[in-house]
Symmetry: C2
Subunit: 213 residues, 2 copies
Amino acid sequence: MPRPPTSPAGLGRDRIELEALALIEELGLEAFSLRKLAARLGCEPMSLYHHVPGKPALLDALVDRLLGGLPRPPSTDAPAARLRAFAAAWRQLAREHPQFYLWLALHRWNSATGVALLGEVLTCFHAAGLAPEAAARAFRAWGYYVLGATLDETRGYGAGPSSLHPLTLAELEHAHPRVAAAGAWFQPAQFDTTFELGLAVLLRGLGVEAGEG
Amino acid sequence: MPRPPTSPAGLGRDRIELEALALIEELGLEAFSLRKLAARLGCEPMSLYHHVPGKPALLDALVDRLLGGLPRPPSTDAPAARLRAFAAAWRQLAREHPQFYLWLALHRWNSATGVALLGEVLTCFHAAGLAPEAAARAFRAWGYYVLGATLDETRGYGAGPSSLHPLTLAELEHAHPRVAAAGAWFQPAQFDTTFELGLAVLLRGLGVEAGEG
DNA sequence: ACCTGAACACCGTTCAAGT
DNA sequence: ACCTGAACACCGTTCAAGT
Protein backbone atom coordinates (compact mmCIF):
# COMPACT_ATOMS: atom_id res chain seq x y z
CA MET A 1 0.00 0.00 0.00
CA PRO A 2 2.33 2.81 -1.21
CA ARG A 3 1.44 6.25 0.08
CA PRO A 4 1.43 9.43 -2.01
CA PRO A 5 4.63 11.47 -1.86
CA THR A 6 3.07 14.22 0.27
CA SER A 7 1.22 11.92 2.63
CA PRO A 8 0.81 13.32 6.14
CA ALA A 9 2.69 10.33 7.50
CA GLY A 10 5.71 10.92 5.27
CA LEU A 11 7.95 13.81 6.19
CA GLY A 12 8.99 15.74 3.11
CA ARG A 13 10.50 19.21 3.07
CA ASP A 14 7.20 21.06 2.80
CA ARG A 15 5.72 19.51 5.91
CA ILE A 16 8.97 19.96 7.84
CA GLU A 17 9.38 23.59 6.83
CA LEU A 18 5.78 24.63 7.48
CA GLU A 19 5.75 22.96 10.88
CA ALA A 20 9.11 24.58 11.72
CA LEU A 21 7.77 28.00 10.81
CA ALA A 22 4.77 27.50 13.07
CA LEU A 23 6.76 26.03 15.94
CA ILE A 24 9.30 28.87 15.90
CA GLU A 25 6.50 31.39 16.42
CA GLU A 26 4.97 29.23 19.11
CA LEU A 27 8.15 28.63 21.13
CA GLY A 28 10.36 31.53 20.13
CA LEU A 29 13.44 31.29 17.95
CA GLU A 30 15.77 30.56 20.87
CA ALA A 31 13.66 27.74 22.32
CA PHE A 32 13.01 26.09 18.96
CA SER A 33 14.94 22.87 18.46
CA LEU A 34 15.06 20.04 15.98
CA ARG A 35 14.14 17.62 18.73
CA LYS A 36 10.96 19.51 19.54
CA LEU A 37 10.19 19.79 15.84
CA ALA A 38 10.57 16.02 15.49
CA ALA A 39 8.25 15.47 18.45
CA ARG A 40 5.67 17.75 16.83
CA LEU A 41 5.98 15.85 13.55
CA GLY A 42 5.72 12.51 15.31
CA CYS A 43 9.10 11.22 14.24
CA GLU A 44 12.53 10.70 15.71
CA PRO A 45 14.93 13.66 15.70
CA MET A 46 17.25 11.89 13.31
CA SER A 47 14.59 11.31 10.69
CA LEU A 48 14.78 15.01 9.87
CA TYR A 49 18.34 14.61 8.66
CA HIS A 50 17.13 12.59 5.70
CA HIS A 51 15.37 15.67 4.39
CA VAL A 52 17.44 18.56 5.73
CA PRO A 53 21.22 18.82 6.17
CA GLY A 54 20.99 20.42 9.61
CA LYS A 55 19.44 23.18 11.66
CA PRO A 56 21.09 26.22 10.02
CA ALA A 57 20.24 24.83 6.58
CA LEU A 58 16.61 24.38 7.61
CA LEU A 59 16.40 27.99 8.82
CA ASP A 60 18.02 29.24 5.64
CA ALA A 61 15.50 27.26 3.61
CA LEU A 62 12.75 29.07 5.53
CA VAL A 63 14.34 32.38 4.55
CA ASP A 64 14.21 31.36 0.90
CA ARG A 65 10.60 30.25 1.22
CA LEU A 66 9.48 33.54 2.76
CA LEU A 67 11.50 35.72 0.40
CA GLY A 68 10.06 33.88 -2.58
CA GLY A 69 6.53 34.38 -1.29
CA LEU A 70 6.86 38.11 -0.73
CA PRO A 71 4.23 39.96 -2.79
CA ARG A 72 5.75 42.15 -5.52
CA PRO A 73 4.35 45.53 -6.56
CA PRO A 74 3.36 45.89 -10.23
CA SER A 75 6.28 47.17 -12.26
CA THR A 76 4.00 49.80 -13.79
CA ASP A 77 3.89 51.66 -10.48
CA ALA A 78 6.18 54.63 -9.94
CA PRO A 79 9.54 53.83 -8.28
CA ALA A 80 8.65 55.56 -5.01
CA ALA A 81 5.33 53.70 -4.83
CA ARG A 82 7.09 50.42 -5.48
CA LEU A 83 9.60 51.11 -2.69
CA ARG A 84 6.75 51.91 -0.31
CA ALA A 85 5.07 48.67 -1.32
CA PHE A 86 8.24 46.63 -0.79
CA ALA A 87 8.67 48.18 2.63
CA ALA A 88 5.04 47.51 3.52
CA ALA A 89 5.21 43.88 2.38
CA TRP A 90 8.42 43.42 4.33
CA ARG A 91 6.96 44.95 7.47
CA GLN A 92 3.95 42.69 7.08
CA LEU A 93 6.24 39.66 6.86
CA ALA A 94 8.00 40.77 10.06
CA ARG A 95 4.64 41.14 11.80
CA GLU A 96 3.56 37.66 10.72
CA HIS A 97 6.83 36.03 11.80
CA PRO A 98 8.15 38.17 14.65
CA GLN A 99 10.12 35.34 16.19
CA PHE A 100 11.73 34.10 13.01
CA TYR A 101 12.32 37.62 11.80
CA LEU A 102 15.67 37.93 13.57
CA TRP A 103 17.08 35.12 11.46
CA LEU A 104 15.24 36.23 8.36
CA ALA A 105 16.59 39.76 8.50
CA LEU A 106 20.18 39.09 9.42
CA HIS A 107 21.18 36.31 7.10
CA ARG A 108 22.71 37.06 3.76
CA TRP A 109 20.33 36.62 0.93
CA ASN A 110 22.84 35.13 -1.43
CA SER A 111 20.47 32.53 -2.80
CA ALA A 112 18.94 33.00 -6.23
CA THR A 113 15.67 34.06 -4.59
CA GLY A 114 17.35 36.57 -2.31
CA VAL A 115 19.48 38.19 -4.96
CA ALA A 116 16.51 38.45 -7.30
CA LEU A 117 14.58 40.34 -4.63
CA LEU A 118 17.51 42.67 -3.93
CA GLY A 119 17.76 43.29 -7.67
CA GLU A 120 14.10 44.25 -7.90
CA VAL A 121 14.48 46.79 -5.11
CA LEU A 122 17.71 48.18 -6.52
CA THR A 123 16.01 48.59 -9.89
CA CYS A 124 13.51 50.98 -8.31
CA PHE A 125 16.33 53.36 -7.49
CA HIS A 126 17.66 53.17 -11.03
CA ALA A 127 14.16 53.67 -12.38
CA ALA A 128 13.87 56.81 -10.28
CA GLY A 129 16.70 58.28 -12.33
CA LEU A 130 19.59 57.82 -9.93
CA ALA A 131 23.09 57.12 -11.27
CA PRO A 132 24.63 53.76 -10.32
CA GLU A 133 26.56 55.02 -7.30
CA ALA A 134 23.71 57.15 -5.97
CA ALA A 135 21.29 54.27 -6.52
CA ALA A 136 23.54 51.82 -4.68
CA ARG A 137 23.96 54.13 -1.70
CA ALA A 138 20.28 55.09 -1.59
CA PHE A 139 19.32 51.41 -1.76
CA ARG A 140 21.59 50.75 1.18
CA ALA A 141 20.30 53.67 3.27
CA TRP A 142 16.71 52.66 2.54
CA GLY A 143 17.55 49.12 3.63
CA TYR A 144 19.17 50.31 6.86
CA TYR A 145 16.02 52.16 7.79
CA VAL A 146 13.64 49.32 6.95
CA LEU A 147 15.85 46.79 8.73
CA GLY A 148 16.15 48.84 11.89
CA ALA A 149 12.46 49.68 12.02
CA THR A 150 11.29 46.09 11.61
CA LEU A 151 13.76 44.76 14.15
CA ASP A 152 12.81 47.43 16.64
CA GLU A 153 9.12 46.75 16.07
CA THR A 154 9.46 43.00 16.52
CA ARG A 155 12.30 42.73 19.05
CA GLY A 156 12.17 46.10 20.79
CA TYR A 157 9.45 47.18 23.17
CA GLY A 158 7.38 44.14 22.37
CA ALA A 159 9.99 41.74 23.69
CA GLY A 160 9.59 42.68 27.33
CA PRO A 161 12.13 43.70 29.94
CA SER A 162 15.54 42.16 29.92
CA SER A 163 17.67 44.16 32.28
CA LEU A 164 18.82 42.97 35.67
CA HIS A 165 17.66 46.14 37.41
CA PRO A 166 14.96 47.70 35.25
CA LEU A 167 13.66 51.11 36.13
CA THR A 168 10.09 51.14 37.36
CA LEU A 169 7.62 53.41 35.63
CA ALA A 170 7.59 55.68 38.67
CA GLU A 171 11.38 55.97 38.66
CA LEU A 172 11.31 56.64 34.94
CA GLU A 173 8.76 59.44 35.26
CA HIS A 174 10.72 61.02 38.08
CA ALA A 175 14.22 60.77 36.61
CA HIS A 176 13.41 61.15 32.91
CA PRO A 177 10.04 62.80 32.46
CA ARG A 178 10.65 63.47 28.77
CA VAL A 179 11.44 59.83 28.05
CA ALA A 180 8.30 58.82 29.95
CA ALA A 181 6.21 61.33 28.03
CA ALA A 182 7.62 60.16 24.69
CA GLY A 183 6.52 56.62 25.54
CA ALA A 184 3.03 57.51 24.33
CA TRP A 185 4.38 57.63 20.77
CA PHE A 186 6.40 54.44 21.16
CA GLN A 187 3.34 52.18 21.37
CA PRO A 188 2.58 49.63 18.61
CA ALA A 189 -0.45 51.68 17.56
CA GLN A 190 1.99 54.43 16.54
CA PHE A 191 4.36 52.21 14.55
CA ASP A 192 2.75 52.83 11.16
CA THR A 193 2.73 56.61 11.46
CA THR A 194 6.30 56.83 12.70
CA PHE A 195 7.56 54.42 10.07
CA GLU A 196 5.86 56.32 7.24
CA LEU A 197 7.28 59.60 8.51
CA GLY A 198 10.89 58.43 8.33
CA LEU A 199 10.35 56.60 5.05
CA ALA A 200 8.89 59.71 3.41
CA VAL A 201 11.85 61.78 4.59
CA LEU A 202 14.28 59.24 3.18
CA LEU A 203 12.60 58.74 -0.19
CA ARG A 204 12.41 62.47 -0.74
CA GLY A 205 15.92 63.24 0.51
CA LEU A 206 17.47 60.41 -1.46
CA GLY A 207 16.03 61.79 -4.66
CA VAL A 208 13.53 59.01 -5.31
CA GLU A 209 10.47 61.15 -4.90
CA ALA A 210 10.11 64.62 -6.37
CA GLY A 211 9.65 67.57 -4.00
CA GLU A 212 6.08 68.06 -5.20
CA GLY A 213 5.47 64.28 -5.44
CA MET B 1 47.12 35.58 53.95
CA PRO B 2 43.96 37.44 52.82
CA ARG B 3 44.06 38.63 49.23
CA PRO B 4 42.86 42.01 48.00
CA PRO B 5 39.28 42.09 46.72
CA THR B 6 40.33 42.42 43.06
CA SER B 7 43.14 39.87 43.19
CA PRO B 8 43.70 38.06 39.87
CA ALA B 9 42.99 34.78 41.62
CA GLY B 10 39.61 35.95 42.91
CA LEU B 11 36.83 36.17 40.37
CA GLY B 12 34.87 39.37 40.91
CA ARG B 13 32.42 40.89 38.44
CA ASP B 14 34.99 43.07 36.70
CA ARG B 15 37.27 40.21 35.79
CA ILE B 16 34.35 38.03 34.73
CA GLU B 17 32.76 40.72 32.58
CA LEU B 18 35.96 41.83 30.86
CA GLU B 19 36.96 38.27 30.08
CA ALA B 20 33.44 37.54 28.79
CA LEU B 21 33.57 40.56 26.49
CA ALA B 22 36.91 39.40 25.07
CA LEU B 23 35.84 35.78 24.73
CA ILE B 24 32.62 36.66 22.91
CA GLU B 25 34.61 38.48 20.23
CA GLU B 26 37.08 35.60 20.06
CA LEU B 27 34.53 32.79 19.71
CA GLY B 28 31.47 34.56 18.40
CA LEU B 29 28.30 35.23 20.36
CA GLU B 30 26.73 31.87 19.47
CA ALA B 31 29.74 29.78 20.47
CA PHE B 32 30.35 31.67 23.71
CA SER B 33 29.37 29.68 26.81
CA LEU B 34 29.72 29.99 30.56
CA ARG B 35 31.67 26.76 30.62
CA LYS B 36 34.25 28.11 28.20
CA LEU B 37 34.38 31.36 30.14
CA ALA B 38 35.04 29.42 33.34
CA ALA B 39 37.82 27.47 31.64
CA ARG B 40 39.37 30.74 30.47
CA LEU B 41 39.16 32.14 33.99
CA GLY B 42 40.62 28.98 35.50
CA CYS B 43 37.63 28.13 37.64
CA GLU B 44 34.72 25.71 37.62
CA PRO B 45 31.58 26.68 35.66
CA MET B 46 29.55 26.86 38.86
CA SER B 47 31.88 29.35 40.51
CA LEU B 48 30.55 32.02 38.17
CA TYR B 49 27.11 31.71 39.72
CA HIS B 50 28.41 33.23 42.94
CA HIS B 51 29.02 36.48 41.07
CA VAL B 52 26.43 36.44 38.32
CA PRO B 53 22.82 35.16 38.39
CA GLY B 54 23.08 33.45 35.00
CA LYS B 55 24.05 33.84 31.38
CA PRO B 56 21.39 36.36 30.25
CA ALA B 57 22.10 38.48 33.34
CA LEU B 58 25.80 38.48 32.53
CA LEU B 59 25.16 39.61 28.97
CA ASP B 60 22.78 42.33 30.16
CA ALA B 61 25.47 43.52 32.57
CA LEU B 62 27.81 43.84 29.60
CA VAL B 63 25.22 45.99 27.86
CA ASP B 64 25.11 48.29 30.86
CA ARG B 65 28.89 48.47 31.01
CA LEU B 66 29.23 49.43 27.35
CA LEU B 67 26.33 51.90 27.39
CA GLY B 68 27.80 53.60 30.45
CA GLY B 69 31.19 53.90 28.77
CA LEU B 70 29.87 55.45 25.57
CA PRO B 71 31.51 58.86 25.03
CA ARG B 72 29.06 61.78 25.21
CA PRO B 73 29.24 64.87 23.02
CA PRO B 74 29.56 68.22 24.86
CA SER B 75 26.12 69.69 25.52
CA THR B 76 27.31 73.00 24.08
CA ASP B 77 27.33 71.48 20.60
CA ALA B 78 24.38 72.06 18.29
CA PRO B 79 21.66 69.35 18.38
CA ALA B 80 22.49 68.04 14.90
CA ALA B 81 26.18 67.83 15.77
CA ARG B 82 25.36 65.98 18.96
CA LEU B 83 23.20 63.48 17.07
CA ARG B 84 26.01 62.90 14.59
CA ALA B 85 28.40 62.36 17.50
CA PHE B 86 26.07 59.88 19.20
CA ALA B 87 25.70 57.97 15.95
CA ALA B 88 29.47 57.97 15.41
CA ALA B 89 30.18 56.76 18.96
CA TRP B 90 27.57 54.05 18.57
CA ARG B 91 28.97 52.91 15.24
CA GLN B 92 32.42 52.81 16.82
CA LEU B 93 31.09 50.61 19.62
CA ALA B 94 29.57 48.25 17.06
CA ARG B 95 32.88 48.08 15.22
CA GLU B 96 34.76 47.27 18.43
CA HIS B 97 32.30 44.57 19.50
CA PRO B 98 30.84 43.18 16.28
CA GLN B 99 30.02 39.82 17.82
CA PHE B 100 28.40 41.13 20.96
CA TYR B 101 26.65 43.89 19.06
CA LEU B 102 23.64 41.73 18.21
CA TRP B 103 22.80 41.36 21.89
CA LEU B 104 23.79 44.93 22.66
CA ALA B 105 21.51 46.41 20.03
CA LEU B 106 18.43 44.29 20.49
CA HIS B 107 17.96 44.23 24.23
CA ARG B 108 15.82 46.78 25.93
CA TRP B 109 17.80 49.44 27.66
CA ASN B 110 15.51 49.70 30.61
CA SER B 111 18.31 50.01 33.14
CA ALA B 112 19.12 53.39 34.68
CA THR B 113 22.14 53.64 32.36
CA GLY B 114 20.15 52.79 29.27
CA VAL B 115 17.29 55.13 29.92
CA ALA B 116 19.68 57.97 30.73
CA LEU B 117 21.34 57.50 27.35
CA LEU B 118 18.00 57.42 25.54
CA GLY B 119 17.05 60.60 27.38
CA GLU B 120 20.19 62.36 26.25
CA VAL B 121 19.49 61.51 22.63
CA LEU B 122 15.82 62.46 22.87
CA THR B 123 16.84 65.80 24.38
CA CYS B 124 18.73 66.63 21.19
CA PHE B 125 15.49 66.50 19.24
CA HIS B 126 13.78 68.76 21.74
CA ALA B 127 16.76 71.12 21.69
CA ALA B 128 16.41 71.32 17.91
CA GLY B 129 13.01 72.91 18.43
CA LEU B 130 10.75 69.96 17.74
CA ALA B 131 7.47 69.60 19.62
CA PRO B 132 7.11 66.51 21.88
CA GLU B 133 5.36 64.32 19.30
CA ALA B 134 7.63 65.29 16.43
CA ALA B 135 10.67 64.82 18.66
CA ALA B 136 9.51 61.37 19.76
CA ARG B 137 8.88 60.22 16.18
CA ALA B 138 12.11 61.75 14.85
CA PHE B 139 14.05 60.10 17.67
CA ARG B 140 12.52 56.79 16.71
CA ALA B 141 13.20 57.17 12.98
CA TRP B 142 16.79 58.22 13.70
CA GLY B 143 17.17 55.15 15.90
CA TYR B 144 15.76 52.84 13.22
CA TYR B 145 18.34 54.06 10.75
CA VAL B 146 21.29 53.81 13.15
CA LEU B 147 20.18 50.38 14.33
CA GLY B 148 19.76 48.99 10.84
CA ALA B 149 23.04 50.43 9.58
CA THR B 150 25.12 49.08 12.46
CA LEU B 151 23.54 45.65 12.28
CA ASP B 152 24.03 45.48 8.55
CA GLU B 153 27.64 46.61 8.88
CA THR B 154 28.46 44.06 11.58
CA ARG B 155 26.21 41.12 10.64
CA GLY B 156 25.59 41.67 6.94
CA TYR B 157 28.17 41.25 4.23
CA GLY B 158 30.91 40.82 6.79
CA ALA B 159 29.38 37.67 8.22
CA GLY B 160 29.99 35.50 5.18
CA PRO B 161 27.65 33.29 3.16
CA SER B 162 24.87 31.43 4.88
CA SER B 163 22.63 30.08 2.17
CA LEU B 164 22.37 26.48 1.18
CA HIS B 165 22.84 27.23 -2.51
CA PRO B 166 24.64 30.56 -2.78
CA LEU B 167 24.98 32.16 -6.17
CA THR B 168 28.52 32.26 -7.47
CA LEU B 169 29.95 35.60 -8.54
CA ALA B 170 29.75 34.52 -12.18
CA GLU B 171 26.09 33.59 -11.83
CA LEU B 172 25.41 36.88 -10.10
CA GLU B 173 27.08 38.91 -12.84
CA HIS B 174 25.16 37.04 -15.49
CA ALA B 175 21.71 37.04 -13.89
CA HIS B 176 21.82 40.36 -12.03
CA PRO B 177 24.47 42.62 -13.53
CA ARG B 178 23.17 45.67 -11.69
CA VAL B 179 23.38 43.97 -8.29
CA ALA B 180 26.90 42.83 -9.14
CA ALA B 181 27.90 46.34 -10.19
CA ALA B 182 26.41 47.86 -7.04
CA GLY B 183 28.61 45.55 -4.99
CA ALA B 184 31.47 47.99 -5.42
CA TRP B 185 29.62 50.43 -3.14
CA PHE B 186 28.71 47.76 -0.61
CA GLN B 187 32.29 47.22 0.56
CA PRO B 188 33.36 48.15 4.13
CA ALA B 189 35.47 51.00 2.74
CA GLN B 190 32.21 52.61 1.59
CA PHE B 191 30.32 52.22 4.88
CA ASP B 192 31.19 55.66 6.24
CA THR B 193 30.15 57.56 3.13
CA THR B 194 26.88 55.69 2.71
CA PHE B 195 26.00 56.02 6.38
CA GLU B 196 26.66 59.77 6.39
CA LEU B 197 24.55 60.20 3.27
CA GLY B 198 21.45 58.66 4.80
CA LEU B 199 22.02 60.33 8.16
CA ALA B 200 22.26 63.76 6.55
CA VAL B 201 19.02 63.15 4.65
CA LEU B 202 17.26 62.11 7.82
CA LEU B 203 18.52 64.95 10.03
CA ARG B 204 17.54 67.50 7.45
CA GLY B 205 14.16 65.96 6.60
CA LEU B 206 13.23 65.45 10.24
CA GLY B 207 13.75 69.14 10.90
CA VAL B 208 16.82 68.80 13.10
CA GLU B 209 19.16 70.57 10.75
CA ALA B 210 18.32 73.77 8.91
CA GLY B 211 18.26 73.72 5.11
CA GLU B 212 21.36 75.89 4.91
CA GLY B 213 23.19 74.10 7.79
C1' DA C 1 31.63 33.86 51.65
C1' DC C 2 33.33 31.45 48.07
C1' DC C 3 34.34 27.38 45.35
C1' DT C 4 33.57 22.47 43.83
C1' DG C 5 31.68 18.02 41.90
C1' DA C 6 28.04 15.31 40.56
C1' DA C 7 23.84 15.40 38.42
C1' DC C 8 19.63 16.90 35.51
C1' DA C 9 17.40 18.18 31.51
C1' DC C 10 18.43 19.68 27.54
C1' DC C 11 21.08 20.63 22.67
C1' DG C 12 22.93 19.32 17.42
C1' DT C 13 24.85 15.74 15.19
C1' DT C 14 27.45 11.04 13.92
C1' DC C 15 27.20 6.36 13.27
C1' DA C 16 25.67 1.73 12.82
C1' DA C 17 21.70 -0.69 12.36
C1' DG C 18 17.18 -1.76 10.93
C1' DT C 19 13.03 -2.05 7.14
C1' DA D 1 15.14 5.22 0.40
C1' DC D 2 13.68 6.17 4.64
C1' DC D 3 13.50 5.75 9.61
C1' DT D 4 15.41 4.42 14.26
C1' DG D 5 18.20 3.96 18.63
C1' DA D 6 22.26 4.53 21.03
C1' DA D 7 25.91 7.44 21.67
C1' DC D 8 29.08 11.71 21.70
C1' DA D 9 30.25 16.17 22.83
C1' DC D 10 28.29 19.82 24.22
C1' DC D 11 24.84 23.41 26.81
C1' DG D 12 22.67 26.22 31.31
C1' DT D 13 21.55 25.40 35.75
C1' DT D 14 20.22 23.01 40.54
C1' DC D 15 21.69 20.99 44.56
C1' DA D 16 24.39 19.22 48.25
C1' DA D 17 28.78 19.36 49.87
C1' DG D 18 33.15 21.16 50.96
C1' DT D 19 36.59 25.14 52.89
